[in-house]
């Protein structure tokens, strides 16, 4: 049997995959990035490339209901002075559980951008800017406990 014939079964394999993973907690991924080169005394921008698996969403940074846990980036250490964090533009989506009322979410691939200032007295050379990204994800029928993932960006101060 050739793979061309096997391709007929791809939807079946996908169905099996969906059946087996439907209740597994989704993992938010932050793409690894190249060293961010910055200059002392100058502004700097760090863009986190974030993604959630298909079929899942997380609350945006500005959820529509007070009980919902927002997407939150916190910088906890490193040579850079934190400025403004810009979260992705929320999607207003309705789900089986929202009874027709849209809620503010993020899904798929999105960026979280932080503006920094590099202190004039920052030590030159490589170092790490660290933080955490907290999110709480759901699909159309169920929700998963909030998770906090570490963020680690290599910064080279020149």
């Amino acid at each position: 049997m050739r793979f061309k014939s096997c391709s007929k079964f791809v939807p079946l394999f996908l169905l099996i995959g969906v059946a087996l993973t439907a209740q597994m907690a989704p993992e938010l991924k932050i793409a690894s990035q190249a060293t961010v080169k910055v200059k002392r005394g100058a502004p700097a921008t760090v863009t986190l490339k974030v993604s959630l698996p298909a079929g899942f969403h997380a609350n945006s940074n500005t959820p529509t209901e007070p009980n919902l846990i927002p997407l939150t980036l916190k910088w906890t250490g490193g040579p850079l002075q934190e400025g403004v964090i810009t979260y992705p533009k929320p999607l207003m989506e309705t789900y089986q559980f929202t009874a027709g009322k849209p809620i503010s979410v993020v899904a798929g691939a999105f960026d979280v951008v932080t503006k920094f200032k590099v202190p004039a007295a920052a030590a030159t050379g490589p170092s790490a800017q660290t933080g955490t990204l907290r999110y709480q994800a759901c699909n159309d029928r169920m929700c998963f406990p909030p998770k906090t993932v570490p963020v680690n960006v290599t910064v080279s101060v020149e």
Binding site: M1, C6, I16, A19, Q23, N67, L68, M142, C143
Partner: protein, 185 residues
């Protein structure tokens, strides 16, 4: 035996796939052994195959210890939920209605909150939702006892002998719960 698609005849390969699909769909719908079901609602199991619901000790808002075994002799709807869980918020008014409707017939709802924030998050929510049944704060141990409850809501309908009669993972159907309760009362 080689399962390579190149070495298996088309007919056999299809049968193999059908078997794999059958197993996957079955596991997806009835759940792995000792794990909560993945589907909207499992049917009420025959009494002979029901497993004993693990007992636990959890605290209510006043710090009083509540055990599942305290409810032996009653049909219990055991709901794992959280304030941040949208689908849980849809089911809670159903459970409040069931509590009102069936409490005099030997039925109760027991809500296990999985909120990390504890009572400071749960207490206002309970008041706002006018929840009329017992709420306790859950913990990892209890979650593990019930098959590592991670997806919320996850709801177990427990018979008068303390055995799990049906499991519902995710937003379920109100009528399925109602039917299960009535069948067990």
């Amino acid at each position: 035996m080689n399962f390579s698609p190149h070495s298996v005849q088309p007919g056999r390969f299809f049968i193999l796939l059908a078997v794999i699909a059958g197993v996957a769909v079955t596991l997806g719908s009835i759940g792995w052994p000792d794990k909560p079901s993945a589907n909207v609602g499992s049917p009420v199991k025959d009494g002979k195959v029901r497993k004993q619901a693990p007992d636990f000790e959890l605290k209510d808002v006043n710090g009083k210890v509540v055990r599942l075994s305290d409810y032996k002799g009653k049909v219990v709807l055991l709901d794992f939920w959280a304030t941040w869980c949208g689908p849980c918020g849809i089911e809670i008014p159903w459970f409040t209605e069931f509590q009102r409707k069936y409490k005099d017939r030997g039925f109760t709802v027991l809500g296990v909150s999985m909120d990390d924030g504890g009572w400071k998050d749960v207490k206002p929510f309970v008041a706002e939702q006018k929840i009329n049944y017992q709420i306790v704060l859950g913990d990892d141990k209890t979650s593990d006892q019930y098959g590592d409850v991670e997806a919320l809501p996850t709801t177990f309908v427990i018979d008068r002998e303390g055995r799990i009669a049906s499991v519902h993972v995710g937003l379920a159907d109100k009528k399925e719960f109602d039917d299960a309760i009535q069948k067990l009362l």
